[in-house]
């Protein structure tokens, strides 16, 4: 049995292909204006990596904000359920998940089977999201993948008082012009993000083990700040961006078996 999970987020699209319980392949592509095309691109790439064809896939489940417009999906399930499922597969002891995606941030509680028991999402706000990090990287002229490492060089945090991405950008520009080192600004930005997501986690309650998924999990600066606030060492998978797609693929396996 070969199944696929397709996660179409606001910044990236991922496909995971499972053969029974084993991950055959995965792909991560940048989301374009057309979600259906992104889904196809991601899936084509994953198929190529697995050296199989589209016809080999028995069942597909789509998730993420673009889940309703994946033309070849058999069903769609929210990314909240899928992240819990995927995190549970990777870390069976997980009870709290923080998914830091491109457009939003979700705190999820789950049971030992990976079923969601509670969740909270940030509202119409980019703070604590991948988009926020992108904006900051752009303002400071640092590559997105380097902002985490750069922030660790800071001797102290610059004060970023606003949790709003738009205002924080203005604050970062002012700090930059007044000669504050980029590392300190980034460390302050990461502190602001961590405060925001910590509040979200407290709404659902934090219980170990604690997993962080989503693209921001690759930012060591944010992870360090979040870990300090939560007081738990977060578990992070080798590729945290595919947790949602993996969960979708696991659901696909279950649904296909059920018939």
């Amino acid at each position: 049995m070969i199944v696929a999970g397709v996660d179409i987020g606001s910044l990236s699209g991922e496909t995971v292909i499972l053969s029974d319980d084993k991950i055959l392949s995965y792909s991560i592509v940048r989301t374009g204006a057309d979600s259906a095309l992104t889904a196809k691109k991601a899936t084509d790439e994953a198929l190529k990596n697995a050296d199989i064809s589209f016809e080999d896939i028995d069942y597909t489940i789509a998730t993420g904000y673009g889940r309703v417009i994946v033309p070849f999906a058999n069903e769609n399930i929210t990314e909240i359920s899928c992240h819990a499922k995927g995190a549970n597969y990777l870390f069976p002891t997980v009870r709290t998940i923080l998914d830091m995606g491109g457009q939003d941030c979700k705190a999820i509680r789950c049971n030992e089977k990976g079923k969601v028991t509670n969740f909270a999402m940030n509202d119409k706000c980019a703070a604590g999201t991948g988009r926020f990090c992108e904006v900051m990287a752009d303002v400071l002229g640092i590559a997105l993948e380097d902002i985490g490492k750069t922030s660790l060089e800071a001797k102290k945090d610059a004060m970023i008082s606003s949790a709003c991405a738009v205002f924080a950008k203005s604050e970062a520009v002012s700090l930059l012009r007044s000669g504050v080192p980029k590392s300190e600004i980034l460390s302050g930005v990461h502190e602001a993000i961590a405060s925001r997501v910590f509040a979200l986690l407290q709404r659902v309650g934090i219980e170990g083990d604690f997993v962080i998924s989503g693209g921001i999990a690759k930012n060591i600066g944010v992870i360090k700040k979040v870990a300090e606030k939560v007081g738990l060492k977060p578990l992070i998978s080798e590729e945290p961006q595919i947790v949602g797609a993996l969960g979708a693929a696991l659901f696909a396996k279950e649904r296909y078996k059920k018939g």
Binding site: I77, I80, S81, K115, V116, M121
Partner: protein
């Protein structure tokens, strides 16, 4: 409307519709709907109740029928600001702000009864009609009949025996708030008489909150796998309620008592039991065998938002899952809400 000049605008479910009817007017609720551009921010702060802002948008855009006057209830700070702003943007409209007590103790009922008597005098001036006690009693009877029919219809929707029940019920609530009572009662009777048709599955959910008039919102709930088995919204079932008809007691006191004793908006408190709202939510959720509860409030509504933590705690104690949604009286947040509602239903299944 057939005779637009005979309309009195209103914006709050505490408005005594029977008095407006007794004056020879038809009540017209200015619902926060439509396509009027966002202009209220020119006068009011941007971070203010979207209900009030959307109503003001309609007034500023002249997106309302011709009114003989408008009655505002002094139900919260923002409603008072709406009254102020309305006079600024529509200086030629007759307006009246009616004070509304925050509780239903005997002193508050007496005070509110006096306010209703003053409202009656004003309506009498606006209409040129003498509003006799007999006319008021007749109007109370008409509105009691409407409440009874709406309640019957609601039961059918709650039981899941009316096709597209919650969508159609909300459409009827909106009509009851804006169209002649006689026409609406006819529509309700026809719906009640429709043959039973069991609605498709859906997880039973109890919905409470304040302003949610858009029938599309109910389509959204159902498309996400929820079946609203009971609701308590100020644009829904809270809008009509029976008033005592015992003619031996003062009619204004009966009206005041009826309005203040019905299911309360979060702005009204029971001084003896301030946490009553949370207990009421639990009781109603249990009564309709809901698997989960969705609270829907407009953004920046402090009375509701302040009570949500106690509602959450009370539901948690009972083991009932709770989802809080904050809206802006438009369907613009539909994508974000869809994910939350779907995830909530997936969690409950």
């Amino acid at each position: 409307m057939k005779d637009k000049s005979k309309l009195i605008g209103f914006t709050c479910a505490y408005t005594p519709l029977a008095l407006i009817d007794a004056a020879g007017f038809a009540p017209y609720r200015i619902l926060p709907m439509g396509d009027s551009p966002d202009q209220a921010g020119h006068i009011l702060h941007e971070n203010l109740c979207p209900h009030v802002k959307r109503v003001l948008d309609r007034g500023m855009q002249d997106d309302i029928p011709e009114l003989s006057g408008i009655v505002f209830m002094n139900s919260c700070d923002t409603m008072r600001r709406l009254n102020d702003a309305w006079q600024k943007v529509r200086p030629n409209d007759n307006t009246l702000l009616v004070d509304l007590p925050v509780s239903n103790d005997p002193g508050s009922v007496s005070f509110f009864a006096e306010e209703l008597a003053l409202l009656t005098d004003t309506l009498s001036q606006w209409s040129g009609n003498n509003i006799t006690p007999e006319r008021i009693e007749n109007s109370i009877g008409r509105y009691n009949e409407l409440a009874m029919h709406l309640n019957e219809l609601k039961k059918r929707v709650d039981n899941g025996t009316l096709k597209d029940g919650s969508l159609r019920l909300q459409t009827i609530y909106n009509k009851a708030a804006t169209e002649p009572i006689k026409d609406v009662m006819e529509m309700i009777k026809q719906m009640i008489d429709e043959t039973n048709e069991l609605s498709d599955g859906g997880l039973p959910v109890y919905l409470f909150g304040n302003v949610l008039p858009d029938p599309e919102a109910f389509v959204l709930f159902e498309s996400c796998g929820a079946r609203i088995v009971s609701e308590d919204l100020c644009t829904g079932s809270r809008m009509t309620h029976s008033i005592e008809t015992d003619k031996s007691s003062d009619v204004f006191k009966r009206l005041a008592n009826g309005l203040l004793s019905r299911t309360a908006c979060a702005r009204t408190v029971d001084p003896i039991n301030p946490g009553k709202m949370a207990l009421d939510v639990v009781e109603r959720a249990n009564a309709c065998n809901a698997r989960g509860v969705i609270g829907h409030t407009v953004k920046f509504c402090d009375p509701y938002l302040a009570r949500m933590p106690s509602v959450r705690d009370a539901l948690k104690k009972e083991g009932i899952s709770f989802l809080l949604l904050e809206g802006d009286c438009t369907m613009r947040s539909i994508g974000q809400h869809k994910t939350r509602i779907e995830a909530f239903i997936e969690m409950l299944r």
